[in-house]
Symmetry: C2
């Protein structure tokens, strides 16, 4: 891949957007919005593709990835909290969670305050896989941030957060606040 070519490619509707921004007429047109819709589709397609390949080696799929990821990020997570994050039914969660428990990537301990609850923790093996998966996806972001002009970097985070349903933002914020930095001492 030619670097010059690559650099030149980083600007679909961005050129027009910049011109308008520069001209202080920063409205976003319907055509721009449609372009964003498609870019979001392609970006997500490639984003999840990375992890899919690694997961295949373990006989796991995306569903396992999501569970392992959030358990690793928030050790001690309850089933109810996980269901709330993933927005799936308990039957659906139970299938993949059972596999992760049996394969020894996640373990469940009875809750101390409420013994009905099952608190989920990653095993050392689970932590390692979660870290490897996170590394793949983080690498994409780190590379992207490197490609982007410094001024655009903070904007990416703002943009994604603004894309979340307003009534969901508080929940996401709470999740981020109590999340562990992945890959801490296993």
């Amino acid at each position: 891949m030619n670097e010059l070519l690559t650099r030149k490619l980083v600007e679909p509707g961005a050129v027009a957007a910049w011109r308008r921004a520069a001209a202080e007429t920063a409205a976003t047109s319907d055509a721009d919005a449609l372009e964003l819709v498609e870019l979001f589709f392609f970006a997500y397609r490639d984003f999840v593709g990375d992890a899919d390949r690694l997961l295949g080696n373990f006989g796991f799929g995306r569903a396992h990835h999501r569970v392992l990821h959030f358990v690793n990020r928030r050790p001690g997570l309850t089933i109810a909290a996980l269901l709330d994050i993933l927005r799936i039914t308990k039957q659906s969660l139970n299938r993949v969670l059972k596999q992760l428990l049996e394969a020894g990537f996640v373990e469940a301990r009875a809750g101390v305050v409420d013994r009905r609850q099952r608190l989920l923790y990653p095993t050392p093996q689970g932590t390692k896989l979660a870290r490897d998966l996170a590394a793949l996806q983080s690498a994409r972001f780190l590379k992207v941030m490197d490609e982007l002009p410094p001024a655009a970097r903070g904007a990416a985070s703002q943009f994604l957060f603004a894309m979340i349903d307003p009534d969901e933002r508080a929940r996401v914020r709470a999740h981020l606040a109590c999340a562990k930095t992945a890959g801490e001492a296993p």
Copy 2:
């Protein structure tokens, strides 16, 4: 929804990012990257949720949406081109495409230059549904762009494009170049 609260919420890692950007030390840490991974997950979850509800009324799913969307955006698309965009097998495409054809949302005409090809076009009904779906998703982007500071708007497009695999960018660029503005006269 309290406006003040909402405004305050638009800044997960963004605060830190801004401080660093202001301090001219604009490196992106692993922790920031992880946060972006999760924001991307939540943002995409909500993004597709909008359209899912409308599709349900027609007995269609996401797969139908994607096909209809790209046929509407690029009338005259061939099966091969569509397979290349969606990255699924022809068997998988055929199932949903057949349903869209039978339901009268898409029609296929034999290619003029190569009569083996089937050129796909939206019917008036298909155009309407595609437009309604696009309107839902565009609305989210338009609202987001409105929430964001003008300087961050162009960055969103740049960011998403940079998230796409480098070897895919030329293809995406070509697609965007020859795409029709959705919702043109049916």
